[in-house]
């Protein structure tokens, strides 16, 4: 009987820690504020003093809003950019603000992104960075981005959904 109770306690403990870990994992992939939800934010690895791009999916279940500003402690400047090709090289062009219509906007390596310039620290694979996104109307939303390899084309967890 005691063995059964002990086993039961152990299974409960394992399930508790597992569910906690999953919740944390889920939280790091999704940030929400009202009708706005930011899913899978991720950044590319970069050296201190350099620059990087941050990508994410922004879902909007309410009226149209605009992403107007981004700030973070890990970079001197954060700017909303579009990825453009100049000659044979990819570069970025500032777009000011990003319209987030009802539905979804993808910030991805072929289109829009958040550019962080003057990184105050090295961004290594597996690190996390905090950013504050300002939506008008809406307010500010803090998101946690995971750092992926410098040549990554998508989030390493891309493909699974978050309900």
């Amino acid at each position: 009987m005691r063995v059964r109770q002990l086993l039961g306690s152990m299974i409960c403990a394992v399930m508790f820690y597992a569910s906690n870990a999953m919740a944390e994992d889920h939280e790091s992939h999704v940030a929400a504020m009202g009708d706005i939800r930011v899913v899978h934010p991720w950044a590319r690895a970069a050296d201190a003093g350099g620059s990087t791009l941050v990508f994410m999916d922004i879902e909007n279940a309410g009226g149209p809003v605009r992403l107007t500003r981004v700030r973070t402690d890990v970079a001197e400047r954060a700017e909303l950019v579009g990825i453009v090709m100049e000659g044979t090289e990819l570069t970025t062009a500032a777009v000011g603000a990003i319209d987030v219509p009802v539905g979804e906007v993808q910030l991805d390596p072929g289109g829009l992104a958040i550019k962080l310039d003057g990184l105050s620290q090295e961004l290594a694979v597996g690190d996390g960075i905090e950013m504050v996104l300002s939506f008008e109307p809406g307010g500010e939303l803090t998101v946690h981005s995971e750092v992926e390899p410098a040549d990554a084309r998508e989030h390493s967890h891309a493909g699974h959904s978050h309900d």
């Binding site: 090709m85 044979t88 319209d99 993808q106 072929g110 289109g111």
Partner: protein, 405 residues
């Protein structure tokens, strides 16, 4: 003492072997130069080829397939964009123009593209190289390299590519060439461009306009008579609109992309191939340098007594050292310079082959990277040339004089 006469004399003494060594270095250099030059030419040419196509909207699926079909005019089938999406794209306010593309026919093996006057004028930057844009359903504009001349008349054959043209079916409509596009550096230089309504009509599809409207050309299209298309070329009003439209049409029924996205993938593959090939070329160069030094060491053993005699006659050791070092460096430097020229020639020929196969015009050149590669090879040769030079510098005169040459 001037070492050059002695260097020239040594080069002449074994001219066949020395020539062989120069050829070895030349081939090793040319290999690396051609790889780097060709990769850059391919990247520049492909970027130039898609430059005028701002945004492409197509049915969901492989954007590479759509790019190959629509921008590089390769034969093959892609899913059609549904008429209701075509309608939405055309109706978008942030669009300067949206041109449907239609394929399926050819003229003497060259692809026929059905589209609108807007895209023709956009490709020509507003000014055709010759003539004007089409103004009715029986007129056509040709690419810069098309054998058709302004004023020529032609009929289109059903199908494009060897698999599709086996039936030999010729469409009834006759077209007159009224204009020629400026060079695009892409397969569009061989294209025959006709009104999209004609492609739809020739394939028994709705023509985009009500029958009672007659042969109307281009937009606005009648929603009730639109048909599916392989792709649409969209010119957004500005940069912000381009990203907005790209996002808007990435849905379950359509995809939207910048052609540069496809090129980035291509460049990654090209870069990986270049890294692998360059590593192989670098290995070859290292082996060639080692072989050259080995040959020189063997060769100098034969001439050991000759240099010993020189020293016995009063030539300083430094003179002998300079002669040997300069001799090896001359072989490596001559081979490297000849390799630069041969590499450029190889890249040029490869460019001609790629252009004949794909229609993409390549302009190979020799850049700083290729010159650096040759310079590194020469520098390596300069360092390794010290080996035989030092060996003869330290050679004991009495023993060297006893050798039989």
């Amino acid at each position: 003492m001037n070492p050059l006469p002695m260097v020239l004399s040594t080069l002449r003494a074994d001219r066949r072997l020395n020539l062989m060594l120069v050829i070895l270095v030349m081939i090793a250099t040319a290999l690396g130069v051609a790889i780097i030059s060709q990769e850059r030419a391919l990247k520049q040419a492909s970027a130039r080829a898609v430059d005028k196509f701002d945004l492409i909207v197509a049915a969901p699926g492989s954007i590479t397939d759509v790019t190959l079909k629509s921008l590089f005019l390769r034969p093959g089938a892609v899913e059609l964009l549904k008429p209701e999406v075509v309608r939405q794209v055309v109706a978008e306010k942030r669009v300067a123009f949206a041109a449907p593309l239609a394929f399926g026919d050819s003229v003497n093996g060259d692809p026929v593209v059905g589209t609108t006057r807007d895209l023709v004028l956009h490709l020509a930057d507003g000014h055709l190289a010759e003539g004007r844009g089409f103004e009715n359903w029986e007129e056509a504009v040709v690419g810069q390299a098309s054998p058709l001349k302004v004023g020529d008349t032609f009929q289109t054959s059903h199908g494009h590519g060897p698999e599709e043209t086996t039936g030999g079916l010729v469409h009834a409509s006759r077209f007159t060439v009224v204009g020629r596009l400026p060079a695009q550096g892409s397969p569009w230089d061989r294209a025959v461009i006709i009104p999209v309504e004609q492609i739809w009509k020739l394939h028994n599809l709705p023509t985009g306009h009500a029958p009672e409207a007659g042969p109307v050309l281009g937009p606005p299209f009648d929603d009730a008579y639109l048909t599916g298309v392989p792709a649409m070329v969209v010119k957004p009003e500005n940069l912000a609109a381009a990203y907005g439209l790209r996002n808007l049409f990435r849905t379950e029924t359509s995809t939207a992309f910048f052609p540069a996205e496809v090129l980035v993938g291509l460049y990654q593959v090209l870069g990986d191939i270049r890294v692998m090939m360059t590593a192989l070329a670098a290995g070859t160069q290292a082996l060639v340098i080692a072989a050259v030094i080995a040959c020189v060491i063997v060769l100098l053993r034969v001439h050991r007594r000759r240099f010993a005699v020189l020293r016995a006659l009063g030539a300083p050791r430094a003179y002998v050292f300079a002669c040997i070092w300069l001799y090896v460096v001359t072989i490596v430097a001559t081979g490297a310079i000849a390799g630069l020229i041969l590499g450029f020639a190889g890249s040029y020929l490869a460019g001609l082959f790629v252009a004949s196969q794909t229609g993409v015009a390549l302009s190979p050149s020799i850049g700083l990277q290729e010159v650096s590669l040759a310079a590194v090879l020469v520098a390596t040769g300069c360092v390794f040339a010290l080996v035989p030079a030092v060996a003869l510098y330290r050679d004991r005169l009495d023993r060297a004089l006893q050798t039989i040459s």
